[in-house]
């Protein structure tokens, strides 16, 4: 069976999609920057409520998962199927741990009364509620990307296992990994903006 194949085109399409994702999150970062310049004191007060330990752990976890996804691509190019599957399994495991941490972190924050339109934030200065709205929107959207990326990589791993994706045809794995690296890339900026600089 000969089907049309254009790996370069597929990768180009993936990159173009990643640029739109970059603008999506770029817009959110821009909102953050503008409101930070408008409410510096309120943002600083709200930023002190962030859990740096969760943020740092999740940064290390995502960096590790990104490395594993890149390892999977190198492994399929060398036709090392077992290593591809182990690497992808590790990536997905990291995604699960990341989301579990997010669950713990958000539970703690919500129990302290920090969630959009909570009585505590409604009674406080407007800058703080803006901070938490942007925080939940940006980090929530990023978390959704983690969920989608993890699901995508599981699907790719199944196709690697079945032999549909192999050392001669692996653009699907490459594009899945590219999406995963974008998720890591966005977090690399979320981490200092929300957890560190305030």
């Amino acid at each position: 069976m000969s089907r049309h194949r254009d790996d370069t085109g597929a990768k180009l399409g993936m990159w173009l999609f990643l640029f739109t994702e970059l603008f999506l999150f770029g817009g959110l970062f821009l909102l953050y920057a503008v409101y930070l310049s408008r409410y510096p004191r309120e943002f600083a007060a709200a930023g002190r409520e962030m859990h740096v330990v969760f943020g740092t752990a999740n940064t290390a976890i995502l960096i590790t998962s990104s490395m594993l996804a890149a390892t999977a691509v190198s492994a399929i190019q060398r036709d090392e199927r077992r290593r591809v599957l182990w690497s992808l399994g590790g990536t997905v495991l990291c995604a699960a741990i990341f989301l579990f941490n997010k669950y713990l972190e958000w539970s703690a924050e919500i129990s302290h009364g920090f969630y959009p339109n909570s009585p505590r934030l409604a009674a406080g200065p407007p800058g703080e509620s803006v901070f938490f709205s942007l925080y939940y929107l940006t980090v929530g959207l990023h978390g959704l990307h983690v969920l989608i990326g993890g699901t995508l990589l599981i699907w790719v791993a199944v196709r690697v296992r079945r032999g549909v994706v192999h050392s001669g045809d692996y653009v699907l794995l490459e594009n899945g990994a590219l999406y995963w690296h974008l998720v890591d890339l966005i977090w690399i900026f979320i981490f200092p903006l929300y957890y560190l600089i305030l």
């Binding site: 254009d6 603008f23 740096v52 890149a70 690296h181 890591d184 900026f189 560190l196």
Partner: protein, 95 residues
């Protein structure tokens, strides 16, 4: 379509090295934020984040080994993002 010339394969050693560098930069950025070094730490944190994302794009995302087309597209996208942010701040700061 024809398959392009043999693709560049990143060695596991190199990937591990990039991973360790990224972890070290994460530790550095946390350290810098912890030892509050004044207003400079905002720009310092952002500079470290840019450095880290540069490493992810260049190596994990293989951009270092891609052709001209993808590199120029990335440059264009980042330039547009910079224009968005820069021009918004012209308005916000000097209103």
């Amino acid at each position: 379509m024809t398959h392009e010339q043999t693709p560049h394969i990143l060695s596991y050693g190199k990937l591990t090295l990039v991973w360790l560098t990224l972890l070290a930069l994460t530790a550095l950025t946390v350290w810098v934020a912890h030892h509050n070094v004044g207003i400079g730490h905002v720009w310092g944190s952002l500079a470290i984040a840019c450095l880290k994302s540069g490493l992810v794009i260049a190596f994990f995302m293989h951009m270092k080994y891609e052709g001209r087309l993808l590199r120029w597209l990335l440059f264009t996208a980042l330039a547009i993002l910079a224009i968005f942010i820069g021009f918004t701040f012209f308005d916000v700061l000097y209103r």
